[in-house]
Symmetry: C2
Subunit: 161 residues, 2 copies
């Protein structure tokens, strides 16, 4: 009996440690997958812009009347008004120019129960343009608020200045 006890006293903590490590590995893998998905969405957005495709660029935003775009001095609400503002402000490829993002930092925002449905991302942008539209910033910073719905990350708030 004493030997059996001694064994359990080794096996149980080892089992707990193993399960805990497995859970941690799963959490780390899930977080990496979320970060990779957001990075891919940001890359997809820049690529869409540089192809001159504003509709594809906008597909990374939630298609909702609540979706918000905050500019350097402006507040705009609603997916459709934001889309129209982009199309008006950047009427052609020359005005759109080439968009690059850098210093992208992603911060996942887990709920108290550990679920990850929200994230914020910050970074810098640079726009190389041969022709200027109504938007007049070529360098600046951005902060984005993301929500994961049915496994897809979309932007619900974009503040670019």
């Amino acid at each position: 009996m004493r030997k059996t006890h001694a064994n359990w006293m080794l096996i149980l903590p080892a089992l707990c440690l193993g399960l805990s490590l497995a859970a941690t590995a799963q959490t780390v893998a899930a977080r990496q997958a979320d970060e990779a998905a957001i990075k891919a969405a940001v890359t997809e957005q820049a690529d869409a812009w540089n192809r001159g495709n504003i509709d594809a660029f906008m597909s990374v935003y939630e298609n909702s009347p609540e979706t918000t775009f905050v500019g350097a001095t402006t507040l705009n609400k609603g997916f459709q008004p934001i889309l129209e503002r982009y199309k008006k402000g950047y009427a052609n490829r020359a005005q759109m120019g080439k968009l690059t993002f850098k210093d992208l930092e992603i911060r996942l925002l887990p709920s108290a129960s550990g679920q990850i449905e929200y994230a914020v991302a910050t970074g810098r942008f640079h726009l190389d343009r041969t022709e200027r539209g109504s938007a007049n910033k070529d360098d600046g910073v951005f902060s984005l608020v993301w929500r994961k719905t049915n496994g897809k990350w979309k932007i619900l708030l974009d503040h670019t200045s």
Copy 2:
């Protein structure tokens, strides 16, 4: 028996409707309490600023190295660096001036399970100053990302431009 059935056929849906209305009323009340708490925190922040108390102003931010402040063209990370930047940029009451917020819009961000731990707020600010510090914006827009921890709402990301 037939009468008993008929009664249940009325009582059960009425009971379900009653429970559903009670749950909805509870959800609405909880949302209103969250919105009121965020509004109160924003008011508290402006009041602290207008008393010249930067420490009290900063107490509405999460005291975390992850807390982020994005300015018109700058990115700053960490509660302590942000606090020091404010103290440097606004060295005295005259430089701080009088801060007012307007057009505050709060958007609660529930999780899929209905829990509310995150929110975003947008609005405009105005600063009336007799002496200018290193910060040189007197009018602008802001977006704030909030998290509720132990019932307290705090800002984790502030983008002001």
